[in-house]
């Protein structure tokens, strides 16, 4: 079995407001909020690395889980904005926790990365006992350019989230998961080795609006759960308008979809765990969901064991 033992998060202290970005993209601050639901986001200092963000979230997670780093049997780390082509940041974060002899694996999956990380951790935890899943992103390094692209520059923030998945400790049991990928859309959302992030927003929104409700419905149906019985839906915080649309398609009030995008923007793979770290402690059931570049998408159900 697999349980969520604890969650943690870290965001940099610098707040970047819509007013600050509105000047750079030639739009009104109110336009940014209208099209995204975002009011502000956090950006890390130029010399801060993805591993640094991830390590802070990992330590917060261990603290809140009452766990010691020596209990960790594996680290799975997602980032689409790591500074290096290789190695990824996983081993560096593990080293920061004092772990130099456990497997530390990178998932360069971007926005759906921590959903995939949790699903893989569930499948691997019997062997590794405690798996630390981390999502850390420094998206400002990708979009903070001149001229700033109005469609992508306003969306993204920096931050990290972490979740400790345990084979035998934790309040929420990971019941089931679904992961899906379709390489037909690689060009619709990608980040090359040089240049800026490329996003065909219409294709992303159209596909996400269909695929996310579908995978949530498939997951809940095969576990005989109704959407209204779920305490929280915790989704990758991509865009508040998309979250509202997906809630409607799933058949629940938007308020059932936890959202902190107004404060942090879209932190790509980090966003789902940052959001979960804020709402999971009182929840009896959570349905996680994510969608991103690839396209990769999926859902995962966790609930108090009955």
């Amino acid at each position: 079995m697999a349980f969520i033992r604890g969650l943690g998060a870290y965001v940099p202290s610098r707040i970047v407001t819509n007013e600050e970005l509105a000047v750079r993209v030639g739009k009104a601050a109110s336009w940014i909020k209208d099209v995204s639901g975002i009011e502000e986001r956090r950006w890390a200092a130029p010399d801060v690395a993805v591993a640094h963000l991830g390590l802070h979230a990992a330590k917060d997670c261990l603290l809140r889980s009452n766990a010691d780093a020596s209990e960790i049997g594996m680290v799975i780390m997602s980032s689409g904005s790591n500074e290096r082509r290789f190695p990824g940041a996983a081993a560096e974060v593990a080293k920061g926790l004092g772990l130099t002899d456990v497997p530390a694996i990178d998932l360069p999956v971007a926005s759906a990365g921590t959903l995939f990380g949790l699903a893989l951790a569930r499948d691997l935890v019997e062997r590794y006992r405690n798996i630390l899943v981390i999502g850390a992103e420094k998206m400002s390094s990708v979009i903070d350019r001149e001229p700033m692209d109005a469609n992508t520059g306003i969306l993204f923030g920096d931050g990290a989230g972490a979740c400790l998945v345990s084979a035998d400790l934790g309040r929420l049991k990971i019941v089931d998961s679904l992961m899906r990928s379709d390489g037909s859309y690689t060009e619709a959302l990608h980040l090359g080795l040089t240049g800026t992030l490329v996003m065909n927003g219409m294709t992303v929104i159209m596909q996400a609006s269909r695929k996310v409700p579908s995978v949530i419905s498939d997951l809940l149906k095969r576990n005989n759960r109704r959407p209204e019985s779920i305490d929280w839906f915790v989704m990758h915080q991509a865009n508040q308008n998309l979250i509202a649309r997906i809630a409607k398609a799933v058949g629940v009030d938007t308020e059932k979809f936890y959202s902190n995008i107004a404060r942090y923007g879209n932190t790509s793979s980090a966003s789902m765990l940052i959001a979960a770290s804020e709402c999971w402690e009182e929840a009896m059931s959570i349905c996680f969901a994510a969608f991103g570049a690839g396209f990769h998408w999926g859902a995962l159900l966790a609930e108090v064991e009955k």
């Binding site: 037909s184 219409m202 992303v204 929104i205 159209m206 609006s209 269909r210 308008n241």
Partner: protein, 75 residues
């Protein structure tokens, strides 16, 4: 069919503009990402067709005449 399509566009965009058959609905600002998604759902319901995920390509729905051609091909 075109009249029904234009009515759908007006409903999802909440605008009363009447687009020319070959006018880009995106360039004119009539449809954004979310309105486009709503329009596809309305096309499915109105014309009793199924638009598969693989056909969710904005280029297929850029003008009234492209939309009409697509709907016809799915009937």
């Amino acid at each position: 069919m075109n009249e029904k399509i234009i009515k759908i566009i007006q409903d999802v965009s909440q605008k009363s503009d009447v687009p020319a058959e070959d006018e880009s609905l995106f360039d004119s600002g009539l449809l954004d990402s979310f309105a486009l998604t709503d329009m596809v759902a309305a096309l499915e319901q109105t014309f009793d067709i199924k638009v598969p995920d693989s056909d969710l390509n904005p280029r297929k729905f850029d003008t009234v005449e492209k939309i009409a051609a697509y709907v016809e091909s799915r009937k």
